[in-house]
Symmetry: C2
Subunit: 253 residues, 2 copies
DNA sequence: TAGTGGTCTAGACCACGGA
DNA sequence: CCGTGGTCTAGACCACTAA
């Protein structure tokens, strides 16, 4: 036939759309600027709204866009670097750490937490809730699990819960000698409570950082911190922290 | 009215669906088992297929499911821990590292890479492509950028590209003294080339690990590694590496 | 109250894998 | 070839925000 078949691998529309939008963001928009609404954009590109939304979702996942219901879609600033792996051999709650205690409860934890802490099934655990603010933005929410056995001298505190108790638990933790630490990062989706704390909808993508603190040959504390994946880049520096100004991954190929 | 209004905050259908499916996966399915197809599942729960797919997407994002076109949806095994932050003060390509060189080209890089390397705009850079296999699975693809100035004694090599040249560049790199390193982790979506290497569709969620290697007071190499976010948990241990058996994040709350 | 993004539907067709 | 998940459409209604 006379028809040429160049499109041997037809690219999905939303993928092509994402590329076009991405280039437009680089050249025609500046940070914080509001994009046209989804219905107009879809009409302009001649696609259904659902298809446009698929492209926007990808761009939001990559931290290029920010969407807020009732407001609109704006161009996101570059992701902020958030230090996670520095301050070796320091307990949570040490002077100058980036976290702010919010609450504390003491109870027998869920089975998964007990297993990670290697505690007995009936052993009570203090769970401190903390939040992290960087550059004026709430970037992470944390649950810090501390077996009651790790902080035995908590007798003078009568507060059954709340910030006061959280501070007391953290203070007692400093008395132990920290022997080591290991962390893991994985992708997750925000639970309802974390989503509220992070000002996102439930299910929003988050980076979950799980850290075990070791003392006296056992796990003395377990931190599960959820960071906003759209706005954060987690940095693990073992040398001086230098900012990488532009993302080499974005434009490569 | 006599009708009670308990649903003050109506939960989205796909969110409830995700919870139900998640519990079913825990109790009624085992790893590797094939779920009913999407049309049957949607009918069984009385929702449109698109709504069901929204729930499945979330579960896949959390590493609970694996979906393959033409095959079906299966229950995913727990995420594998992949060491990323150990082996301090070791160059890429050192004996025993987990990466396998695939290719190497030498050319003037994209602007973003040049900026991160702090090289001049016209300075050539070796780009080594490597892939990482763990537990028999391709888990990551890497582009390793090395300024030509970091490996000046590359004269005896006549191969213009390919694995041989990659090995030669890595070998030369070992002659420098590594002074430090810093890494960053962020969420991204797989480019077409990485997706093919990782056996995923383009746009699949990945964890992008950017590492700068420092020597002689400058950036001697820059690694951009993309890990499959669905199957990997990146571990950064500064003490012995101990596996966390079950994810404390999954079941909490 | 008007306009935004978020959810949901009931279809259709396509690309891929295996029999 | 058939069955799977992946893409796409053209609507509808809801939840939220700001004026």
């Amino acid at each position: 036939m006379g028809t040429t078949q160049l499109e041997s691998v037809p690219e999905p529309k939303y993928w092509h759309l994402k590329t076009v939008l991405s280039e437009a963001l680089d050249s025609e928009f500046s940070v914080g600027e509001i994009l046209p609404n989804e219905r107009d954009l879809a009409a302009r590109f001649g696609v259904a709204r659902a298809t446009l939304r698929q492209a926007l979702e990808q761009l939001e996942l990559e931290g290029r866009l920010q969407r807020r219901r009732g407001v609109g879609t704006t161009v996101a600033p570059p992701r902020m670097g958030v230090a996670v792996g520095t301050e070796l051999h320091v307990w949570p709650g040490a002077p100058g750490d980036a976290w702010q205690p919010v609450d504390c409860v003491t109870e027998v934890p869920a089975a998964a937490v007990a297993a990670a802490l290697e505690t007995g099934a009936d052993e009570p655990v203090h769970t401190v809730r903390r939040s992290r603010v960087t550059h004026g933005q709430r970037v992470a929410a944390e649950l810090l699990h501390i077996p009651a056995a790790s902080v035995p001298d908590l007798s003078g505190i009568d507060a059954p819960a709340g910030v006061a108790r959280a501070r007391a638990v953290l203070r007692e933790l400093q008395r132990l000698e920290l022997e080591g630490r290991d962390s893991a990062v994985e992708l997750g989706s925000a639970r309802a409570d974390d989503a509220k704390e992070l000002d996102r909808l439930p299910g929003a993508p988050v980076l979950v950082v799980t850290t075990r603190y070791l003392a006296a040959g056992r796990t003395a504390a377990l931190s599960v911190a959820t960071y906003r994946a759209d706005t954060c880049r987690l940095t693990f520096g073992d040398s001086g922290n230098v900012e990488i100004h532009e993302d080499p991954h974005r434009h490569a190929s």
